[in-house]
């Protein structure tokens, strides 16, 4: 059976340009984890349902499991590893907004973007944003408190 054609791609991830040899079928999640060792974005369903793989593309949350790596060319990709000492991270710790921590990078990315893009979001908007992800450990009340405290600070 013929080998698929490998290609080379330059991805901007966390403000660094990375040369990557990839298959056209590779997802952004697969490349981040497999080629760049950025394992903060998690596989949970590979179907866009759970949000554990969420990263920011030009500051907007994207489920990296349903985005091809090649689609990210020319865009700025930010992963959880690219967030350093943000209010969102501190707030998630303070409010006990995670337990097993597996969905946490995804939630933090959504929340971080929300705080940047819509610092005055009301409850309905927050719900719309945060419903993209699933947390199975907490009751969401903790995450709600974390989000509220970040937005209140903005």
């Amino acid at each position: 059976m013929p080998e698929t054609n490998k290609k080379v791609l330059i991805l901007s991830v966390n403000d660094e340009d990375k040369d990557i040899v990839f298959r056209p079928a590779d997802t952004l999640l697969g490349v981040l984890r497999g080629k760049l060792g950025l394992t903060g974005a998690k596989p949970g369903c590979l179907n866009g349902d759970c949000g554990a793989c969420t990263v920011l593309v030009d500051g907007i949350p994207m489920k990296s499991c349903i985005m091809l790596a090649i689609e990210a060319e020319g865009h700025k990709v930010t992963t959880i590893e690219g967030l350093i000492n943000t209010k969102t991270q501190a707030s998630f710790i303070k409010h006990f907004a995670f337990q097993c921590g597996y969905c946490t990078p995804g939630f933090i990315m959504v929340c971080h973007s929300l705080a940047e893009k819509q610092p005055h979001a009301d409850k309905a908007v927050i719900k719309e944003w945060m419903q993209s992800n699933i947390c199975r450990c907490t009751s969401y009340q903790e995450i709600e408190e974390a989000v509220a405290s970040i937005l209140a600070e903005e």
Partner: protein, 773 residues
């Protein structure tokens, strides 16, 4: 020191918010091979042929495995081939395994394997399985090896039966004046941990087997791989890093066998098997279903006298842990009440459904749904307040449990205290109808809960402490960090005992069965009791050694010494003393002489006086203590379209002693959320052939953000005398009453008895329609 009770931030928190926390699938895997499964599209079918020719042509494919020649597996009954042999018994059962150099090649090859099936009629519920003449899921159950306390009945689908015979049922019925009967059922569902099950396996040249798995039971993996594949236990090394959610679903051993045989097939090369979500739902074990019939009798004053109970658990295609679940459901077959005469038959039945693993609560939320619904039927018939009925019958010191354990103040929590507190909170929190919308009805439902563990009678836990040159301590325990924060709780206990700041306790997160002392399994809310007792023993051992060295160096008696804040000193003259760092690697005299050596604290704990339960009566002591609670759910029900909102969910749990306030609340609230999700939304939908229709998170839909009610959690503190600081296990209790409380609330609101789960609007509507007919 005052560390116990404080909301200490979990030790791994900074890693978890920065992406540095690593789970099984996150370790560098250059050169690793990948395995992919071919699974059954049928629930029950004969395998006529398997054609792998096209798959073998895919470049990079290294091995294709089928079930032939593999040993049977299964914890309670060894009835399960790792890959199907001749027949498939549930949708999603593993049939073939492809190992390839690249994941995409493994997937491509798996898609090219042609399996020819001849479908058989499926056993689609435990009630159907129980009927005479039902198709047999296992034709020759008598040929299987089984545990000594498992009683399968050949020629039937009965995998196990537990009997509870307490008192004399006919006498209890004679003493009763008011009777109710309820029948209930719900199907299997899923844990849906966001981390799918994942495992890597490698066999070294010297025969050492290295496994890394997202598991709650690394020590069980070691034991089972050793016994099924005939490998010395010492040559099997299992590592478990952080686990991305478990809830009981990772206490079963299944995917590890596949990773092991995959590696074995390619000369021991490292192979990774990570389940797709679809496999995690269908192939890996699920959450048990139940059909139940309960008949209660009480006096005209509402004093319970008799309980006659039939539980038919959906044991699925393979027994694994389901006989144990069936046993645990029988052990606590009633709610936390004093009932003199109890008759319970609890069956575990083979069906053609995915088979169950433990699920948070281990059969308790399931039987409590049935039992606590029946308590509401009884309250209604008596015209009595449901809280009052429960208060009257609450189990107290001097009573006995269904397995005839004598209750004292320590081994069972304070049920009445919980009910009383719940009543107060419900009054404070009650939001009556706004009054504007006549379509909307508000109602509250309640449930009382209890749970003991039914784990191996000889389950044990160990801890090793080593010291660092700065006097800080490394804590090594076999408890897996599955998200419950238990390792941080253990650090708090150790800090309290050693009178050190908790920052001076370093916790080893990864479990490694070669270097970490065993903790049986991280299940049953027993980490704090068993791991905690081991920590206390290890701390005492370390303190004794510190004092021994210091007594020599300071020329005082050991009993004159005390420790605090990293110093060992003379009680009467605290200024005379040594810092830990001068002692923990041995003490060196000014002339160079030295004594002691590195201090290594060791502690272990084994449950005390546990017994197997009697085959005929169920009498026995299966666990150390019952934590109890009382819970309520308030709903707003729309009478026009049968939709509803959950407004509030309240739990009062007798936790013995709060060890970490926020963490404890988080455990209870998270469990409540999972319970409401199970009760209100989650189930597998089967077609008539037993195939699951919703095996993705798009169609299997847990609660999402914004759908949660307001959670209110309070604690009652009745110490469990044997536990460190009196704490009771509380990882599961928040879940236990949620299905019953939600169903009780909706039954009141809709005016019809809800007897199935999940409580979706369509079900309520259908139940109302049936009532009208």
């Amino acid at each position: 020191m005052n560390i116990i009770g404080k909301s200490v931030i979990r030790k791994e928190a900074p890693d978890k918010v920065t992406g540095k926390a690593r789970y099984t699938d996150d370790f560098s895997s250059a050169g690793i091979y990948h395995a992919r499964l071919v699974t059954s599209p049928f629930a029950h079918a004969l395998i006529k042929s398997i054609d792998t020719r096209e798959a073998e042509k895919v470049s990079g494919v290294r091995a294709i495995l089928t079930g032939e020649g593999l040993p049977l597996t299964g914890e309670e009954i060894t009835d399960r081939p790792p890959l199907a042999q001749g027949k498939v018994r549930h949708h999603g059962e593993a049939v073939c395994l492809v190992v390839a150099e690249k994941l995409d090649k493994a997937a491509l090859a798996a898609s090219l394997i042609k399996v020819d099936y001849e479908p058989l009629s499926a056993v689609n519920s435990p009630s159907q399985a129980y009927q005479a003449g039902a198709p047999l899921v296992h034709e020759h159950v008598e040929h299987y090896k089984r545990g000594q306390n498992v009683y399968p009945e050949p020629g039937t689908n009965i995998a196990h039966k537990t009997k509870i015979r307490k008192g004399d049922l006919s006498r209890g019925i004679g003493e009763s004046a008011v009777f109710v009967e309820g029948r209930y059922s719900f199907g299997p569902s899923d844990h849906a941990a966001i981390e799918t099950r994942s495992c890597t396996a490698e066999i070294r040249a010297d025969g050492d087997v290295l496994i890394t798995s997202s598991s709650q039971a690394p020590f069980m993996i070691k034991k089972l791989i050793g016994s099924y594949f005939d490998i010395e236990a010492g040559k099997i090394i299992v590592k478990t890093p952080l686990v991305g959610g478990a809830y009981g679903g990772k206490a079963s051993v299944q995917w590890e066998f596949l990773a092991f045989i995959a590696s074995r097939a390619v000369g021991g090369k490292r192979v990774k098997l990570r389940y797709m979500r679809e496999e995690d739902i269908l192939t890996a074990p699920c959450h048990i279903g139940l059909d139940a019939t309960i008949r209660l009798g009480c006096t005209s004053e509402g004093i319970l006298k008799s309980a006659e109970i039939l539980y038919l658990f959906d044991g699925g295609a393979y027994a694994d842990k389901s006989p144990d679940l069936c046993r645990a459901g029988a052990v606590d077959c009633t709610g936390p009440y004093h009932i003199e005469h109890i008759w319970c038959d609890s069956y575990c039945l083979y069906t053609n459904h995915p088979y169950p693993a433990p699920f948070r609560g281990f059969a308790h939320s399931e039987v409590l749904f049935a039992f606590e619904r029946t308590m509401d039927l009884l309250a209604k018939k008596l015209g009595m307040d449901p809280l009052e009925l429960r208060f009257k019958n609450a189990i107290l010191p001097g009573h006995t449990t269904p397995t005839q354990v004598l209750v004292n103040k320590s081994n069972v929590g304070d049920v009445r205290g919980c009910i009383q507190r719940l009543k107060d909170i419900m009054e404070e929190e009650w939001e009556p109808n706004a009054g504007h919308d006549p379509r909307k009805v508000r109602a509250a439902g309640i449930a009382c809960v209890w749970k003991n563990s039914t784990i191996d009678t000889n389950a044990s836990s160990g801890v090793i402490l080593t010291f660092n040159p700065d006097g800080s301590v490394n804590l090594m325990s076999g408890v897996v960090e599955i998200g419950t924060g238990t390792k941080t709780i253990l650090a708090q206990m150790l800090a309290e005992k050693l009178r050190l700041p908790v920052e001076m306790i370093h916790v080893k997160m990864t479990v490694d069965t070669q270097t970490t002392p065993e903790h049986w399994k991280t299940v049953a809310s027993r980490g704090t009791l068993m791991g905690g007792r081991a920590v206390m023993a290890a701390a005492e051992d370390a303190i004794r050694q510190i004092k021994e060295i210091a007594s020599c160096a300071l020329r005082v008696r050991e009993e004159d010494l005390d420790i605090d804040s990293g110093r060992v000193f003379v009680k009467a003259e605290p200024e005379i003393g040594l810092s830990f760092k001068e002692v923990v690697y041995g003490y060196t005299y000014p002339n160079g002489n030295a004594i002691g050596g590195q201090i290594i604290g060791r502690g272990s704990y084994i449950l005390r006086n546990m017994t197997n339960i009697d085959k005929e009566t169920g009498a026995g002591r299966p666990g150390p203590e019952w934590a109890v609670g009382a819970q309520a759910v308030q709903v707003e029900f729309d009478t026009r379209d049968c939709t509803y909102r959950i407004l509030k969910a309240i739990s009062v749990v007798d936790i013995g002693r709060v060890l970490n306030e926020r963490a404890a609340r988080g455990q209870v609230m998270g469990a409540m959320s999972m319970g409401l999700s199970f009760a209100g939304r989650e189930t597998f939908y089967f077609d008539e052939m037993g195939r699951v229709l919703n095996f993705q998170l798009r169609t299997y839909r847990p609660i999402r953000y914004g759908e949660q009610p307001k959670y209110v959690v309070e604690f009652v503190n009745t110490p469990h005398v044997e536990a460190p600081f009196g704490a009771r296990g509380a990882g599961e209790h928040g879940l236990l009453g949620m299905p019953a409380a939600l169903a009780n609330a909706l039954s009141i609101a809709a005016g019809v008895e809800m007897i199935h789960l999940p409580l979706i609007p369509e079900l309520i509507w259908r139940t109302l329609q049936e009532g009208k007919r």
